[in-house]
Symmetry: C2
Subunit: 174 residues, 2 copies
């Protein structure tokens, strides 16, 4: 499937409601534990999604569309959420994410991006030249990636409870 | 985390709304394609979840709790949905799943299961003796497994569109 702005927005605008349906008012046993070691809990993942709304997708789009000579993106801090969200309840993070995503989609739509604008490029700190369409497709897949991760982290809390069925449940093996 | 009936229901009762938030009225490009070969599309996965509501979880619970001498489960047909749902729109499958899950949770709650009932066992055709708590934990994780799968199948429709970012997106590599 080729990049389509409208089909990307179809996913991006759903994510706040998906996260609310999955997580709003659920027992913290499902959301505060991780997959072991330095892996992330559901709470950490939601914090990471908030950071993306603030410092990753839209700021990078603006760099691509800017007239600047140097279109190198700021590196994204994958651990910023560990400093920023200390003590906030998950419900507050879900609300914050919903608000930021809503604002970002209003801004994205206001740009009325043309196909040729979507082919404009910026410089990724690790990959070099990337196009705006690749950035927006990645924003979309990044949501789905973290919805899958949230499902997996929650599922793993029941790794022992399922007994021998573990063998049939791919989500517990990944 | 140990098995808890109430914490299992917390997940089970959310799944219809999660699927609606993810899939209701979305472009069929996201839901009708699979991961290649004999893998399942999102449409196939929702059909499979319906089959589980009809023939797997609750019928097996009833076998465990029954007074029957032979508590062997019927094998579950993982491909029944390919015969049953031909031509139905995804919206109809989502509605059907929601109705069946709602009825099944009313039935489950009506049993007022005790801890000792949750330790009663049935015979799985492949694994042998399994407990009711393992069956109910598996029902729960099975939902999360397929939510992760739906996210992954959708994400893979954009496998090329993300360009070099593929390297950072675990969901595209699994």
């Amino acid at each position: 499937m080729e990049f389509s702005l409208s089909k990307s927005i179809e996913i991006l605008e759903r994510t706040p409601d998906i996260l609310a349906a999955m997580l709003q008012n659920i027992s913290t046993d499902w959301t505060s534990n991780n997959e072991g070691g330095e892996t992330w809990s559901v709470y950490d993942v939601v914090g990471h999604l908030i950071e993306g709304e603030k410092t990753d997708w839209i700021p990078r789009m603006d760099i691509v569309l800017s007239g600047k000579a140097d279109k190198t993106f700021e590196p994204f801090d994958r651990f910023a959420q560990f400093g920023e969200n200390k003590g906030l309840p998950l419900a507050a993070l879900l609300e914050e994410f919903k608000k930021l995503r809503h604002q970002n989609l209003i801004y994205l739509r206001s740009k009325n991006l043309t196909e040729s604008q979507c082919e404009q490029t910026g410089i990724h700190p690790a990959f070099g030249e990337v196009s705006l369409s690749q950035l927006l497709a990645t924003w979309t897949v990044h949501d789905l990636n973290h919805i899958a991760q949230i499902s997996r982290v929650m599922a793993k809390q029941y790794k022992e409870a399922v007994g021998p069925w573990m063998e049939y449940l791919r989500v517990l093996q990944s």
